[in-house]
């Protein structure tokens, strides 16, 4: 028969006495001192009940009195350690109770609180009075929260703000409180998509006061004010793009590292674009001039000034870079009678005008002489002058800001003395420390003569790449496991579909931006004063990037691309051809021009590697114990124990399935035997290889 029937709780309520609870408390105390003893705890609990019965036979004990009795019994029965643990436990509970009571007391709203809570919106740069209605409307705007729930949450937020005696609060705090309330109400929210554009103070400080590490290039490592602003603005736009612009699954895939969406900090920009001096001379280029001066077509200096302005303008509207094409060709008529000094002067001006600003996009300058009899000499002479000035660098910015020279290699370059000299000078620039890109053009001459192309240049919009999303192939390979090729290819389908969805979302955004009068892409995509637009969004390509193909092969078949294993090479080719097919299908289904490209960006490869290391640390350290990055694009591992020819042999076979891929050749300057060595290598690559683009540098 129960002798103590009731207990009075601290809030005054009377509840039934439960010996089980006493037994559990005793057992936990005993557990803290060495080990639970069910028999002992039952025995002690029975004694507590007995003493309670003796002591409070004519009244109802309170919870505190019951706990005092537990302490006393433990002490008296020789369990001092357990008693001490129990006392500490009581004390801890007491403090928590007091804190809760204090918080609850503050939360009690006053009856006549007419103070205004000012919310500081740092992003908008303004302050406004807190409005319950406005918060509720914002919360229910994306459809995942009902209006009734939003009203409830807004009221709770207001109550907490007023109870805290807050007079001013940052918008970020209001948002955080609202999300906390939503969480307490178990609302179905994707909090990662509600990150907003709030930047941590550490991030802001790092961008403003960074000491020489990371970030956009700036002399001395210290960030320029505009560069810091661009970086921070980019961070905010990245948050916005992930939270609002991209579909939720694509944003999640980017954050998880399944894919890498390029240019999130510039959501309303093209990925890359080309520009011709002729577009500038015809007044068709962005930012060049509101009205083309009458003598623009005769003055090289004027053309240079306008071209530089257009290139910088375009640089602000692209993610990756700007390519200025047909340079010697366009300048040849203007400089046909110029002597060597005049050519050098014009070359210097052009290089200076096309140099990147701090934090700006680097310009690639096509210096290939034109195959047009009559103007070939002037064209080659200007290309020569440009390469000489580039090599000397007198009075020009540093190598990382100077335009990247691009010189086409074709059979003609080995037949014409002038073209061969340009090629040798380009090779000499490589030996002097510049990086030069050599597109390899094989086969017959183009159907139309350069003059025809020139005439038709303004009728046909220039090509641009509108966006790129890179697929994390090594992650898929690791997840499906070695040997499961079919499973890997099926998994690739999902990534391609995700990337296609990302491209679609971005395409809608770009179309919207281009269509809006005054939109930031309008000058590029709409055309000034009824002229043909410089770029046609319908004609732009959408790139699906491949990176880490070497590691993908390693994870799937155990061999890297440089290993003399035909299986690895065959597998890599199969993956590339399958992806090319799937990308074409995705483009056809979405009605956009999709291309499969090698993503040679080392930062992307490094980011995806870091994401994978976070995803599966043990597996990654097993597979790649000494690595910190995947091999960019379809390249062989940088420290692979193979010579240059073997590297070329392994890589260039993969280029056939890719729309763009660059073969990177690094040589020791002393091993080239001068410019002729590099020219010999280029000739071999042109005649024996399949690669379409080679980047040569020395170390």
């Amino acid at each position: 028969m129960r002798r103590v029937a009731l207990v009075r709780r601290r809030d005054g309520e009377t509840v039934a006495f439960e010996q089980q609870r006493v037994r559990d408390a005793v057992e936990r105390a005993l557990l803290a001192t060495g080990g639970p003893d069910r028999g002992l705890s039952e025995h002690v609990a029975a004694m507590v009940e007995l003493f309670l019965d003796k002591t409070y036979f004519d009244e109802i004990p309170t919870t505190d009195q019951v706990e005092d009795m537990v302490e006393k019994v433990l002490m008296d029965t020789g369990h001092a350690e357990a008693a001490k643990a129990f006392i500490l436990h009581r004390e801890r509970r007491r403090r928590m109770r007091e804190a809760r009571e204090a918080r609850d007391a503050r939360l009690q709203p006053t009856l006549f609180d007419n103070r205004v809570v000012v919310v500081d919106d740092a992003v908008e740069g303004r302050a406004a009075a807190f409005s319950r209605e406005r918060l509720a409307r914002t919360l229910s705007a994306d459809g995942s929260v009902t209006r009734a729930l939003a009203d409830d949450v807004a009221a709770a937020v207001e109550m907490r703000l007023r109870a805290g005696g807050v007079a001013r609060a940052p918008a970020a705090l209001v948002r955080a409180l609202a999300e906390a309330e939503l969480l307490e109400r178990s609302a179905a929210l994707d909090l990662r998509r509600r990150g907003g554009a709030v930047l941590a103070p550490e991030r802001l400080a790092a961008a403003l006061y960074r000491k020489g590490t990371g970030g956009p290039a700036a002399p001395g490592g210290a960030p320029f004010p505009a560069v810091a602003a661009t970086e921070l603005g980019g961070a905010a736009l990245r948050c916005h793009a992930l939270g609002e612009l991209l579909p939720a699954d694509v944003a999640r895939a980017h954050q998880d590292g399944d894919v890498h969406v390029h240019g999130l900090s510039l959501p309303a920009a093209l990925f890359s674009a080309s520009l011709s001096p002729r577009d500038v001379a015809e007044g068709n280029a962005p930012g060049a001039a509101s009205r083309v001066p009458a003598d623009a077509a005769r003055s090289a200096r004027r053309l240079t000034a306008m071209l530089g302005r257009s290139a910088r303008f375009l640089g602000a509207a692209v993610i990756d870079g700007v390519a200025v094409v047909d340079v010697p060709d366009a300048y040849a008529p203007l400089l046909a009678s110029a002597d060597r000094d005049a050519l050098a002067e014009e070359a210097w001006h052009l290089l200076l005008e096309c140099s990147a600003d701090v934090g700006g996009r680097r310009v690639a300058l096509d210096l290939s002489p034109v195959a047009d009899a009559g103007e070939e000499t002037a064209s080659a002479a200007f290309a020569t002058a440009l390469l000489r000035a580039h090599g000397r660098r007198e009075g020009l910015p540093g190598a990382d800001l100077l335009p990247l020279p691009v010189v086409t290699v074709s059979d003609r370059a080995f037949e014409s003395d002038a073209a061969r000299d340009v090629l040798r000078l380009a090779a000499d620039a490589v030996l002097r420390g510049s990086t030069v890109v050599f597109p390899l053009v094989r086969g017959a001459a183009p159907a139309a003569s350069p003059r025809d192309v020139r005439r038709g240049a303004s009728a046909r919009p220039a090509r641009a790449c509108a966006g790129r999303i890179t697929l994390n192939l090594p992650r898929l390979a690791r997840r499906v496991g070695r040997g499961r090729i079919e499973g890997f290819l099926r998994a690739c389908d999902r990534l391609v579909d995700l990337a296609a969805a990302g491209h679609q979302a971005r395409r809608e955004l770009l179309a919207q931006v281009a269509g809006a009068s005054g939109g930031c892409l309008a000058p590029l995509l709409r055309g000034p004063r009824g002229r043909t637009p410089l770029y046609d969004l319908a004609d732009a390509t959408w790139s699906f990037g491949v990176t880490g193909l070497n590691e993908t092969a390693q994870l799937l078949c155990g061999f890297e691309l440089h290993d003399d294993d035909e299986g690895a090479a065959r597998l890599a080719r199969r993956i590339a051809s399958y992806l090319a097919l799937r990308v074409r299908e995705a483009g056809a289904a979405g009605d956009f021009h999709a291309t499969l490209d090698s993503d040679d960006d080392a930062d992307t490869a490094q980011r995806l590697f870091a994401a994978d290391r976070l995803d599966a640390p043990a597996a990654m350290s097993d597979h790649f114990p000494d690595r910190s990055s995947y091999s960019p694009g379809v390249a062989v591992r940088e420290d692979a124990p193979v010579d240059l020819l073997a590297r070329i042999d392994h890589e260039e076979a993969l280029h056939a399935n890719l729309a763009t891929a660059t073969l990177r050749v690094r040589l020791a300057a002393g091993d080239t035997g001068g410019p002729d060595g590099i020219v010999a290598l280029l000739r071999k690559l042109l005649r024996a290889g399949a690669a379409e683009r080679v980047e040569v540098a020395t170390w």
């Binding site: 000299d421 020819l645 070329i648 042999d649 091993d671 035997g673 001068g674 410019p675 002729d676």
Partner: protein, 245 residues
């Protein structure tokens, strides 16, 4: 009686790609073991011994490696050691030619008979001969061995008369050869199509001194360049034209 073909020469090393062994061409270099000179500044002293104690590459492996990358190569350079010491060099040249690759031979000019035989086959596209000084007693010091100067001279004559491409490499040995002797070497090589002056390995005398030699006597030959400065030609043909920016 059937005469057996001589064994192929022992291959000690294979450099899979070189842009310097034959300027303007993508080449692979086969290094043949064994040399009759003991030059004090030999860059490959491990190739001097005639035995292959240090291990050699099976000739089949070397040929297979060349065959597999023949698409990327313009030519193969057979260097040493001294390839003309081995009778099998001729067969090696023939095999490489079967791959569709051109062959350059590096020689020290001590074996005119073998060189003549090789030139007579017509399989050699180019010969590069190292001349270590004027043909006087200092030559023996420069090559670290007894040498018949007539043989060296005969080899020079052979190459000057032969229709194909040739190149004379003239390394400057400090403390053995002096400025005037370098000029004398160029005079001896008068009429050569290409001469490459090589600085001493320790860098002294260096490029500038060699350029002085080139300016002084480069016109005896058609093309005279200093190694590592190929853009500046002091020869009769190249003096008027320089591509260096």
């Amino acid at each position: 009686m059937v005469r057996r073909a001589p064994p192929l020469p022992p291959v000690r090393g294979l450099q899979p790609m070189s842009l310097t062994a034959w300027e303007g061409r993508v080449t692979a270099v086969l290094q043949i073991q064994g040399c009759n000179f003991h030059c004090p500044d030999c860059p490959v002293p491990h190739l001097i011994a005639t035995s292959v104690e240090g291990g050699s590459i099976p000739i089949e492996s070397a040929l297979e490696a060349l065959y597999r990358r023949r698409r990327w190569l313009d030519a193969v350079v057979i260097a040493g050691g001294e390839p003309t010491l081995h009778e099998g060099t001729r067969e090696l040249v023939r095999l490489v030619r079967e791959f569709g690759l051109r062959v350059r031979l590096h020689t020290n000019g001590s074996n005119p008979l073998a060189l003549r035989e090789l030139l007579d086959t017509g399989e050699l596209a180019s010969v590069s001969m190292t001349v270590r000084g004027p043909l006087d007693p200092t030559y023996a010091v420069a090559v670290g061995a007894r040498v018949r100067l007539a043989n060296v001279y005969e080899c020079v004559e052979l190459l000057l008369r032969a229709p194909g491409e040739h190149e004379f490499r003239v390394p400057w040995l400090p403390q053995v050869v002096e400025h005037d002797q370098m000029v004398a070497v160029l005079r001896m090589l008068a009429g050569a199509r290409r001469v490459v002056l090589e600085p001493a390995r320790d860098g002294s005398p260096g490029v500038r001194t060699l350029q002085q030699v080139g300016r002084a006597a480069g016109t005896y030959v058609e093309s005279c360049v200093v190694a590592a400065r190929p853009g500046q030609d002091f020869g009769a043909r190249g003096r008027s034209r320089s591509v260096s920016p």
